[in-house]
């Protein structure tokens, strides 16, 4: 019984690994995606192009400008002399931000002990604008505190002291890269299993299997093994790269991570087999996989938080196994979570896995022809 299932799984492996093209598909895109995502998918800003329009020219204003220019986040691309230079610079995206110090800047300070600094920012990309504004605000607050101290003036009654847990320097790479473990272990096993039955249907070999003494359940089992094994191998490679190459801290236990990964793969493979049992051609299988993958990735919290979505969409994410696995991966990597911390993530994935595998088995029996 088990022997026959293994034989089928072995054959699946041979079929996947013998073909040079499909070997490449297993190795190439995941590595490329890891590198591209790892380096390109970042919300952290650096070298924000900023233009300075200093009409004042006093010691105070010059000190302020040197503070901004000295920050690693900003790069002064131009010193402006005229009002009409502002608009084109921002319009054409040569500068994201213009720091405008008016001519009465130091005068105001002398009279009111307070002066205004105008910051004009390109809001087309609101996230970038928001972050750039935060950076400039932080610089000014620090500048203010220093300035008050040197002047011997009273500090503000309360100050904000910020600490962040798990990711002290708030590097978005620490957030994105562990997420890639989930992304890639979703994509490849899903596509492999989603196409596995359709490929045989197209080649006509599926009939050949169905007339053997193997039962539909055994066939399904034999077909799910390669997806899980390949997912585990691929996951291992990616985990190694994230730790050794991207230097992401892995605080929690490997065991917890692999336990989560296995559950995740089971649910992925279950969904893949559901697609597989519905599709007659590989093209339909690919389409089905694509139609599942895109929403699954978007609505997983991979790049943007689930909490920002409309309620209805948030409810929808509960049936997405990737949602749970992302929390597990990030929890284990950055927060050092243990099994007990993640129980609330494990059981929904198990449930999704069981339901999808059962449904796949049922659909498989009813769409055998």
């Amino acid at each position: 019984m088990f022997y026959q299932i293994l034989a089928l799984a072995l054959k699946e492996f041979q079929a996947i690994l013998r073909d040079r093209q499909s070997r490449l598909v297993l190795i190439g895109p995941p590595i490329a995606q890891l590198l591209v995502f790892g380096y390109a998918a970042t919300f952290d800003l650096n070298n924000i192009p900023v233009a300075i329009y200093n009409q004042d020219g006093s010691h105070l204003s010059r000190e302020l400008v040197s503070h901004i220019a000295g920050s690693p986040y900003f790069e002064v691309v131009k010193n402006i002399q005229h009002d009409d230079e502002i608009s084109p610079l921002i319009m054409t995206k040569k500068a994201l931000m213009v720091i405008y110090i008016k001519s009465d800047f130091s005068n105001e300070q002398a009279i009111n002990h307070s002066s205004h600094l105008q910051v004009i920012v390109d809001g087309r990309n609101s996230n970038t604008a928001l972050l750039a504004l935060n950076y400039i605000r932080t610089i000014i607050i620090n500048f203010n505190q220093q300035f008050l101290k040197t002047q011997g003036r009273h500090p503000p009654p309360a100050v904000l002291k910020v600490r962040s847990w798990f990711n002290p320097n708030l590097l978005s790479r620490w957030f994105i890269v562990p997420g890639i473990v989930a992304l890639l272990t979703l994509v490849v096993p899903l596509i492999i299993t989603a196409l596995s039955v359709a490929r045989e249907r197209e080649a006509g070999t599926f009939d050949q299997i169905l007339v053997t003494p193997l039962s539909p359940f055994q066939i399904l089992l034999g077909k799910s093994i390669p997806g899980v094994v390949i997912g585990l191998v691929q996951g291992t490679i990616i985990i190694l790269l994230t730790v050794l190459w991207f230097k992401i801290p892995l605080l929690g236990s490997i065991g917890t991570l692999y336990f989560g990964l296995t559950l995740f793969l089971l649910s992925t493979v279950g969904i893949g087999l559901m697609i597989s049992s519905l599709s007659i051609t590989q093209q339909q299988g690919l389409m089905g996989a694509f139609l599942f993958l895109v929403p699954a990735v978007i609505l997983s919290g991979f790049a943007t938080p689930i909490a920002n979505m409309p309620e209805l969409v948030q409810d929808l994410t509960y049936i997405n196994p990737m949602r749970y696995f992302l929390i597990i991966v990030r929890g284990v990597y950055l927060e050092g979570n243990s099994y007990a911390d993640l129980i609330s993530q494990f059981w929904p994935m198990t449930l999704i896995g069981l339901i999808s595998l059962t449904l796949a088995g049922w659909m498989f029996k009813h769409r055998m022809y």
Partner: protein, 602 residues
């Protein structure tokens, strides 16, 4: 207008090879040939001989590595577009847009050939009436039957009156009635528009109707001559043998092992013998066979074909070894015999029962109320054209498709709901020899043997048996995709036999396979049947019906006739046709049926 004797195609020392990942294949090997204008030239040869490559080269789709090719006096490399505007070409898969209607397909080809709109109507009318498709102009090409598709494909190739018509296996998979109609169109065009035709064909009886025949083999031309010249070499070498003491299959097996016999084939009620040498005014003598009656007969064109290929020894070629194989296989299947002689004891049981079975797809009835029974050890044939419903019926028998109504039983089980152990008794060979194309022969055999639960010593023995019996050892580690078609068929056959099944289901086992490989296949099948295996086989080759003990002929999902091939043929015996072939029988059956239907409609 050129005179008929002028060469419309002229090839000088043409060579062409394809690079494969591992090796390169010499598809055309230094070919020089002339084809005369104004007649039909047939291109024949076993699978992989280079026929399609040659036709593609002539239509400007491929460029030769060396040599010069001229079509209609123009060089194919330099002036492909000019040539293309003057030829009609129908590729093997007819090249129709299935989601366009008949009319739209014809419009497309008219546009592509720049035919002025005012000239179209008359041309369409002629082509449509010739192909009898006028009532179907608004039908989607995908909804046409196989024969109609071919006729439409031909009409599209003829939209712009071509000087030369190139047809690549135009009659493959087409029922005999449509085949006859296709030939009528071609002949009519030949007479009325003085075109020239070059066609390749797998049906050797069609080659007989050509004015000139080119026989290709392994990228070379073995012979070019008229069919009469081909047959003449076979004068006094062909005989019909008959014995009341032995069954046809037995007799065939015996005779094919006799010295001096080149080929022995079941031909209606007799065995058609081809001798290695001519025997003038006498018949060959075989001592140890009782009650043997031998009489001379007219040679078939096929005899010449077989003889030419068999006397062209080529190591490693599937074709030359049929004889030795036959001897070998009878020895190695002894173990099979033992097992199955046991089965032969109760021969009279019906092992397959089909009772009023129906299969609907939506509101379309693919199979409507078919009933028959198959006895143990019988070869039972399912015959019919493409779309007759035989594959649907076949799939229901194997349990791959549930029946909408009626009962299907194989060895007392419905295979769709039967336990695994019931399925262990059947072997199945799918259409198109479905194997794992990117796995090697070894991996394929390993997988199928394991899937049937064989392991250890037994598994080893069976794989060894398959390699010996089917001579696959040379290709042990070759991807099955890279195998020649004949070997793919052998491998599929071997895979289906790994577990020594009692019942064997074979779906179109000879489709696309050349005549030699077909013979070899039937040889093995006969042997299996002799050892007690029940065999259910579908085919659209009417002549293969003679190998069956009994058969059912299907058309449009219904039964046309059931019975032994002899009974069916004798039923249509007439004064004009005292010895009707299976094909004549089929056409007669279809026509009677159409007549009946007409009566009902009126």
């Amino acid at each position: 207008m050129n005179t008929p004797s002028e060469a419309i195609i002229q090839l000088d020392n043409i060579s062409l090879s394809f690079a494969l990942p591992a090796t390169s294949v010499q598809a055309l090997d230094n070919i020089s040939v002339k084809v005369k204008a104004g007649q039909i030239t047939g291109l024949i040869g076993p699978d992989g001989a280079g026929k399609t490559t040659l036709m593609r080269l002539l239509s400007g789709l491929l460029k030769p590595d060396s040599g010069q090719a001229k079509v209609l006096g123009l060089d194919v490399v330099k002036n492909p577009q000019q040539i293309q505007s003057m030829i009609g070409y129908m590729p093997q898969r007819f090249g129709l847009y299935e989601d366009l209607t008949v009319q739209e397909n014809m419009d497309l080809y008219a546009d592509l050939h720049n035919i002025p709109v005012d000239q179209r109507a008359s041309r369409y009318e002629k082509l449509l009436s010739m192909s009898q498709m006028a009532p179907f102009t608004a039908r989607l090409a995908g909804k046409l039957s196989g024969g109609m598709k071919q006729k439409l494909g031909l009409a599209c190739a003829l939209v712009s009156p071509p000087r030369l018509l190139i047809l690549d296996e135009p009659t493959v998979g087409v029922d005999p009635v449509s085949r006859r109609e296709l030939w009528q169109i071609i002949n009519q065009m030949l007479q009325e528009e003085h075109i020239s035709v070059l066609m390749s064909t797998a049906y050797l009886d069609e080659a007989e109707r050509c004015n000139d025949v080119i026989l290709m083999h392994k990228g070379q031309i073995l012979q070019q001559a008229s069919p009469e010249v081909f047959s003449q070499t076979m004068q006094n070498r062909t005989f019909l043998a008959h014995s009341t003491a032995l069954s046809k299959r037995h007799l065939q097996a015996r005779l094919s092992k006799e010295a001096g016999v080149l080929d022995a084939l079941i031909d209606n009620d007799d065995i058609h013998l081809v001798m290695q040498e001519a025997i003038i005014n006498d018949v060959p003598a075989f001592n140890d066979i009782e009650d043997l009656h031998i009489r001379p007969t007219r040679p078939h064109f096929e005899d010449a074909f077989i003889a030419l290929l068999k006397t062209n020894p080529d190591p490693g070629n599937a074709i030359t070894e049929t004889e030795t194989e036959a001897q070998k296989s009878s020895q190695s299947s002894n173990d099979l015999n033992q097992k199955q002689s046991r089965l032969k004891n109760n021969v009279s049981d019906s092992i397959i029962k089909v009772d009023k079975v129906v299969r609907r797809f939506g509101d379309f009835y693919a199979v409507k109320g078919i009933s028959f029974e198959v006895k143990r050890g019988e070869i039972f044939g399912l015959l019919g054209a493409n779309g007759a419903g035989k594959s649907t019926l076949f799939r229901m028998l194997c349990g791959l498709l549930p029946a909408s109504d009626g009962k299907v039983e194989v060895a007392g089980h419905n295979l769709r709901t039967a336990s695994a152990s019931a399925r262990a008794h059947i072997g199945y060979m799918a259409q198109r020899f479905s194997l794992y194309t990117n796995l090697t022969i070894k991996q394929n055999l390993m997988f199928f043997s394991k899937a049937y639960g064989l392991r250890g010593k037994q598994q080893k023995e069976r794989i060894q048996w398959a390699l010996d019996e089917f001579e696959l050892a040379d290709y042990y580690n070759t991807n099955s995709n890279d195998l020649p078609l004949g070997y793919k068929q052998r491998l599929a056959f071997a895979a289906a036999l790994m577990h020594q099944p009692d019942i064997l289901f074979l779906d179109e086992p000879t489709s696309g396979v050349d005549p030699l490989a077909r013979r070899e296949f039937w040889h093995r099948t006969n042997e299996l049947a002799e050892s007690g295996v029940t065999i259910l086989v579908t085919t659209h080759f009417m002549d293969e019906a003679n190998y069956c003990d009994r058969l059912i002929i299907m058309a449009a999902g219904t039964e046309l006739a059931t019975g032994s091939p002899e009974d069916l043929r004798h039923h249509f015996k007439s004064a004009q046709n005292p010895e009707p072939s299976m094909e004549d029988t089929f056409i007669a059956l279809v026509e009677t049926k159409a007549e009946n239907r007409k009566n009902i409609n009126d």
